[in-house]
C-alpha cells in the first residue's frame, strides 16, 4: 500500500526550475534514497516533503491525506539534518523530549519515551550533557533519536552522515538501517554518496538536473542503469564507442576488434557505446568471451583491488583485479590481452 506519494512535483525558484515532474510512490516501511550530484534537486524534494518548501506544482500525500500546503509543524514528519541542528541550550534529554513537550505529553510519558529513545541509540549515560559536549557522531545519533521520539509517520534524513569521518559514517549507517528496520519506519534518505545509497536502500531514486533518471533497487541501478548518467554516476564504468555490425545479435566493432554485447535493446541509429564494469574484466584472452588487446597506461593500488588502465583503439578502459599475493602486475606500455563475458556487457545509446 502506498504510504507516501509525490505526484507531478515541480519546484521553481524564479526562472530556475530545480525539480521537474517528480513522481514517486513509496510503500510503508520502505527505505528510499535520493541519489544525485549537488544541485540535482534531491534536498529540495526532501524539504518539500518536510514542508519547508512549497511545490510550485504537484501534490504530496501521506496515507492518502494531501499535505502539499500543510505547514511543517502539522505534518508529523521527523527530519535529521546534515548539521545535526541540536538546540544548543538544551541537554540531550531535553532535545530528545522537545517534540513531546510541544505536544503536551505528560512528564512521565515524556521521560519514558526519552529513555526509550536514548536506549535505542545507546546513549543513556549522555542524557544530561549539552550538544557541545558531544562528538559529531553522538550529536547525529541524538538528532536521530529526537526525530524518532515524536513517532513520525515518515523519517527524512538529509545527508546525515556527510559531516562525519569515514569510520563513524560506516557505524552510523548500519545503526540507521537497524533502527529503521526495527521500527518499520518509511524513510527517505538524501545522499550524494553512491555507496551509502547502495548499501542502505530498498530502492534508489537517481536524480539529475531536477529530474528522475531512474528508480530501482540497488541491483537494478548498478547492473542495469537506464541512462548513461546513471551508469556513470553509480559505480565506475567503461563506455566504449562502438559501431553496430549486427543489431539482431549485438555484434559490434571497436576499431579492428569485434565484440558481442549480452544486452542490447532497440537501437535507434544514435551513436552506441558498449558498457562494461571494471570488475567484470579479466586478464588474458578467452575464446568464448569478448577479448581485446590494449596498451597498459596506469596501474593504481586501491587496497583490496588494483585498477589497471588500458588504451584500446585510442579509448581508455579500466579493469579491477583482486590484490592477491600471486598477482603479477603488468608493466606500463606493455600490450595486454583482456576478456569479459558477453553477458556482462550491454549496449547503450550515447546521451546528448
Amino acid at each position: 500500500m502506498t504510504h507516501l506519494e509525490l505526484s507531478h512535483i515541480r519546484k521553481a525558484f524564479g526562472p530556475a526550475v530545480v525539480v521537474e515532474d517528480f513522481n514517486l510512490a513509496v510503500t510503508q516501511g520502505e527505505f528510499i534514497s535520493f541519489l544525485g550530484p549537488s544541485g540535482c534537486g534531491k534536498t529540495t524534494t526532501l524539504r518539500m516533503i518536510a514542508g519547508f518548501e512549497l511545490p510550485t506544482a504537484g501534490t504530496i500525500t501521506i496515507d492518502s491525506t494531501d499535505l502539499t500546503n500543510t505547514p511543517p509543524n502539522k505534518r508529523n514528519v521527523g527530519m535529521v539534518f546534515q548539521s545535526y541542528a541540536l538546540f544548543p541550550n538544551m541537554t540531550v534529554a531535553h532535545n530528545v523530549g522537545y517534540g513531546l513537550k510541544i505536544t503536551s505529553k505528560s512528564k512521565t510519558e515524556m521521560m519514558q519515551r526519552v529513555h526509550e529513545m536514548l536506549a535505542l541509540i545507546q546513549m543513556e549515560e549522555f542524557a544530561q550533557r549539552y550538544p557541545f559536549q558531544l562528538s559529531g557522531g553522538q550529536q547525529q545519533r541524538v538528532a536521530l533519536a529526537r526525530a524518532l521520539a515524536i513517532r513520525p509517520k515518515l523519517l527524512l534524513l538529509d545527508e546525515p552522515l556527510s559531516a562525519l569521518d569515514a569510520k563513524i559514517r560506516l557505524e552510523l549507517r548500519h545503526e540507521i538501517r537497524r533502527i529503521q528496520r526495527q521500527l518499520g519506519l518509511t524513510t527517505i534518505y538524501v545522499t550524494h554518496d553512491q555507496e551509502e545509497a547502495l548499501s542502505l536502500s530498498d530502492r534508489i531514486v537517481v536524480m539529475s538536473k531536477g529530474k528522475i533518471e531512474q528508480v530501482g533497487t540497488p541491483t537494478e541501478i548498478y547492473n542495469a542503469p537506464a541512462t548513461e548518467f546513471v551508469a556513470r554516476f553509480v559505480g565506475h564504468i567503461n563506455l566504449l564507442p562502438v559501431t553496430v555490425l549486427n543489431p539482431a545479435n549485438g555484434v559490434v566493432s571497436l576499431g579492428r576488434q569485434t565484440l558481442r554485447a549480452g544486452r542490447f535493446g532497440q537501437l535507434n541509429g544514435r551513436p552506441v557505446q558498449l558498457a562494461v564494469r571494471p570488475e567484470e574484466i579479466n586478464l588474458g584472452a578467452k575464446p568464448d568471451a569478448n577479448t581485446l588487446n590494449g596498451e597498459v597506461e596506469s596501474v593504481t593500488y586501491l587496497g583490496s583491488i588494483v585498477r589497471i588502465g588500458l588504451r584500446i583503439e585510442h579509448h581508455p578502459l579500466s579493469l579491477d583485479v583482486f590484490n592477491e599475493h600471486t598477482l603479477k602486475l603488468p608493466r606500463i606500455s606493455e600490450t595486454l590481452a583482456i576478456h569479459f563475458p558477453v553477458d556482462a556487457c550491454w549496449l547503450m545509446e550515447k546521451s546528448d
Binding site: F52, A85, F87
Partner: protein, 332 residues
C-alpha cells in the same frame, strides 16, 4: 636566528669595541640552530602587541580613576576627609541619581526593544543587500551621533519652532472624544522636548542603532536549521522563539543591554545641550561641580563620579551573574 648572528658579527667588524670578548672566528662558524632564540620564545613577547593598549588604559583610565578616587577623599587643601561623601545626603543629588537611572533604564529598554526588532528585520527578514548596508551604515553613524549636534537636530525638528512641530500644527487629528483637533500642537498636549520625555526621545536616537549594531551579528548567527528542526517537531514560531531563539540570544541581549545602560548613564553633552541642565542628571551635577566656577566643588564632583562607578560596578556584577546563568550551555 642566523640573521641575528650575522648582524652581531657585522657589528663586531664595524664597531670594534663591541667585539670585546667576542671571538669573530668562532662567530663565523655556523652556530647550533636556535641557540640564541630562547629570548624570542619568552611568554612576555606574546604581550608586546598589547603594550599600546595597556599604555592607553594606564594613562587615560587608571590614572584618572586614581585621581578621581583620591580627589573624592581630600579637601581643596589636599587634606584627607570624608566630608565630600556627605553629598550623598543631599536629596537633590539622590534625585539626580534616580533620574539618571530612570533615563538609562528607560532608554535601554526602549532602544533595546526597537533596536532588536530592527536587527531581527535585517538579519532574519532577508532584505535586499543594499537595504541591509543602508541600515547598518545609518546605525553606525547614529550610534555615534550624540552631544550638541544631536540636541540641535532635535531642537530643529521637535523643538517649539522645529519643522516637524510646525508641520504637525498644520495637520488635523481626531481627539479622544471624536472632535477634530486642528491644528495639533504637541506642546499643547503635554509634550516638551526639554522635558524627561524629550530627553528619552533624544537618547533613543543613539540607543537603538547601538542595539542594532551589537545584536545583528548574534541574530545572524542563529541557524536556520534550529527553526526548521523546531517546526519539524511541531513547534510554532512563538514556541521556537520562547524555547530556543531567545534563550540562545539571552547572553548577547544582556551584553547589549548593559552597553546601552552604560551609554545612557554616562551621557552628558546631549542632556546639557538639550535641556540646559534643567533636568537633574548625575553627569550634569558632576559637570557643574568640576566646571571650575566659583560655586563648584570639584571634590564633591569626584565623590559623585565615584557613586557612578559604584552603580556601574553593581550593574556589571549583576550582569555577570545573569550572563553566567544564561550561558551555562556554552561553558566548557
Amino acid at each position: 636566528m642566523g640573521r641575528f648572528s650575522s648582524i652581531r658579527v657585522l657589528l663586531c667588524f664595524a664597531v670594534p669595541p663591541r667585539c670585546k670578548g667576542t671571538n669573530v672566528a668562532m662567530s663565523t662558524s655556523p652556530p647550533p640552530r636556535y641557540r640564541n632564540n630562547a629570548w624570542r620564545e619568552h611568554p612576555l613577547w606574546n604581550w608586546v602587541g598589547l603594550v599600546p593598549f595597556f599604555l592607553f588604559i594606564f594613562l587615560f583610565l587608571i590614572i584618572p580613576s586614581l585621581n578621581l578616587f583620591t580627589g573624592a577623599f581630600v579637601t581643596n587643601k589636599g587634606l584627607f576627609t570624608l566630608e565630600n561623601l556627605s553629598v550623598f545626603r543631599n536629596p537633590l543629588v539622590l534625585k539626580a541619581y534616580m533620574t539618571s537611572l530612570q533615563v538609562s533604564l528607560l532608554t535601554a529598554v526602549i532602544g533595546g526593544l526597537f533596536g532588536f526588532f530592527v536587527a531581527a528585520a535585517v538579519a532574519l527578514g532577508h532584505p535586499p543587500r543594499w537595504m541591509r548596508s543602508l541600515i547598518m551604515t545609518f546605525s553606525g553613524l547614529a550610534a555615534n551621533f550624540g552631544g550638541v549636534p544631536l540636541a540641535f537636530a532635535f531642537i530643529a525638528t521637535l523643538g517649539r519652532t522645529g519643522f516637524v512641530t510646525a508641520l504637525l500644527k498644520e495637520v488635523c487629528f481626531a481627539g479622544p472624544d471624536g472632535t477634530q483637533i486642528c491644528p495639533f500642537n504637541p506642546y499643547d498636549h503635554g509634550f516638551s522636548l526639554y522635558s524627561l520625555t524629550g530627553l528619552v526621545l533624544a537618547y533613543t536616537y543613539f540607543q537603538f542603532p547601538l542595539m542594532v549594531l551589537t545584536i545583528t551579528p548574534a541574530l545572524e548567527g542563529m541557524r536556520k536549521e534550529w527553526r526548521e528542526a523546531a517546526a519539524n517537531l511541531g513547534a510554532s514560531t512563538w514556541q521556537y522563539w520562547r524555547d530556543i531563539a531567545l534563550p540562545v540570544l539571552t547572553p548577547s541581549i544582556l551584553g547589549a543591554s548593559i552597553l546601552l545602560f552604560g551609554n545612557a548613564f554616562g551621557a552628558y553633552a546631549t542632556a546639557q545641550a538639550l535641556t540646559g541642565g534643567s533636568i537633574p542628571l548625575v553627569t550634569i551635577f558632576v559637570g557643574q561641580q568640576i566646571r571650575g566656577d566659583v560655586l563648584g566643588n570639584p571634590h564633591e564632583g569626584y565623590a559623585m563620579a565615584i557613586g557612578m562607578v559604584v552603580v556601574m560596578a553593581i550593574t556589571i556584577v549583576a550582569y555577570s551573574m545573569l550572563q553566567r546563568q544564561a550561558s551555562r550551555w556554552m561553558k566548557v
